[in-house]
Symmetry: C2
Subunit: 146 residues, 2 copies
């Protein structure tokens, strides 16, 4: 969130309400010392925790376990040039408790590409920010290709 | 991009073709030593460079100038459970050449929230990756809130 940039800031409650409606989010982390971002399916747990489900063999699980990550969702209406974005920042951990794993297997998110062995990744929100864009210029990029 | 995760990898040409059609992208960088992500308007220059336009006073311009960043765009059809995502990784620089500034002021991207003093940020692609999701499970998250 950048102050004085002409967007309306959203309070954490608004942010979590919007996040709960988003069909997809993006997990932002560091991979080989470079910024990395990956769209993922997710759901919110009761306490606002972000839950992901991925293959136990996936590099994502190893890359984010124990790391502070950002999780972003947004919705932009290019025609109305309006929209919002929400970012949750917090530590990601792979769920290892067997009881919690069983509970999440029942009620947690579903993998886009199911695999025999899956793990759940929990992101505990330490910082929740969001902003709303209302009106302004077109969102469409201009292709400069000759 | 994570190998063996059940998604089809896209070649750089496919990636840039898809990126050129995306109305919005997300710039991923580090802010105060934490991962940060911000949706932005953008356009592609002839050489596949990503161009952003922002307020000269914005923290974003200061935060990314000279840094290696990731730029992501995606399109997900939750109903068909299909979609794609593209990530361009490279160094971001604020355009300072007056001639180039003039050219971009004519043909470059338009700010969502115009400000009196604006700068252009150029991201030169050093790594272009993308993946396609075809079919699979629903993308919708499951809200665990009681």
């Amino acid at each position: 969130m950048y102050p004085n940039d002409g967007f309306r800031e959203l309070d954490p409650q608004e942010c979590l309400r919007l996040l709960a409606k988003a069909p997809v989010g993006r997990i932002v982390h560091t991979r080989h010392a470079l910024p990395a971002v990956l769209p993922v399916n997710f759901c919110l747990d009761g306490d606002g925790t972000v839950l992901l489900r991925t293959s136990a063999a996936s590099e994502l699980a190893r890359a984010v376990d124990g790391a502070v990550v950002a999780f972003e969702a947004d919705e932009v209406d290019a025609a109305r040039n309006a929209g919002w974005s929400v970012v949750v920042t917090g530590r990601a951990t792979v769920v290892t408790d067997p009881g919690e794993q069983k509970r999440l297997a029942r009620v947690g998110p579903i993998s886009w590409v199911p695999s025999p062995e899956e793990v759940f990744v929990r992101i505990r929100p330490e910082l929740v920010t969001g902003r709303e864009l209302v009106g302004g210029h077109t969102l469409y990029g201009v292709d400069l290709t000759p």
